[in-house]
Subunit: 150 residues, 2 copies
DNA sequence: ACCGATTTGACCAACACTGACCAATTATCG
DNA sequence: CGATAATTGGTCAGTGTTGGTCAAATCGGT
């Protein structure tokens, strides 16, 4: 068990004690574990991604922070299934199927569904080179899904 | 929450109590919050910009003032203004200003606002090369806005 | 030895705050 | 009336404080 696992479990302990929200200072964490600050980013990106069921927000500058939220609730199972089923690439028709599924399972209403498909459609993503579009769509989809149950 | 946030919320309180018009004296505000006068300008330019939905007028000399007004308009007008103002490139902080403006004008609720910012944030757009991200963000933002009035 | 995961550090970006200097407007005095 | 002083806000570049990125170096297991 390396340092990254130790840091990750420290963060999870905080989440357990705070109803699923951890507000951290990167430099303070790095100091506590005697590592470089960027290792905190590594831990977060490898262990607290949407695939793992977390939302991460941050702010720079004075009073900056990193906030990690663990989502919960009855809809979590379904959402996590979709996020993991999406994989690293997501084309429009598959995305559309996921969104229909989310609608049928009362995860989102009709209005949300329209909005989400507007975001995931090729029109909205035309500034992205074709060969990158499906991976960008997958990322965006995952962030939408995880935020739906936050 | 730093001093700038405190000053901003003080101004917003005034706006709430005065039908959307706050007339302030820079030096008096600076004195009240024990900061340098130029910090007032900083607060105004970072939190009361046109993107945030405000108009700022001022006058120097004896009897000088800074007047901050909330912009009004129909939902469709607001949406069209934002789409036009977004242009071809949209950075995260400008996007954030637009979204909070949309929220303040009841175009979207708090949940929508969070969802939209999750989509427009750098995390969700990681798969897009940095130099293309702002144009992709602008496209996505416009599609969202259009959808709000469709 | 190879390969993925981890660790590191140099460089970057965002946000907050400050102070010296500038500009505009009004008040006062001769 | 006109010059000058007083009063008010504006600008901008600099400093400090945080977090982010990326690629090279290292570690550990097969």
């Amino acid at each position: 068990m390396g340092m990254s696992d130790i840091i990750a479990s420290f963060i999870k302990d905080i989440l357990d004690q705070t109803n699923g929200i951890a507000e951290l200072q990167r430099s303070e964490l790095a100091e506590r574990f005697k590592c470089v600050p960027s290792q905190i980013n590594y831990v977060i990106s490898t262990r607290f991604s949407p695939e793992h069921g977390y939302i991460v927000e941050s702010r720079r500058g004075g009073g900056g922070y990193i906030r990690i939220s663990r989502v919960a609730g009855t809809k979590k199972q379904l959402v996590m299934q979709m996020i993991n089923a999406a994989g690293y690439e997501l084309d429009v028709s598959t995305a559309s199927a996921f969104v229909s599924n989310a609608f049928n399972n009362d995860l989102i209403d009709r209005r949300d569904a329209k909005l989400i498909m507007a975001v995931l459609g090729d029109n909205a993503l035309k500034a992205i080179p074709t060969e990158l579009r499906n991976s960008a769509r997958a990322d965006i989809f995952k962030h939408i899904m995880i935020n739906l149950i936050a």
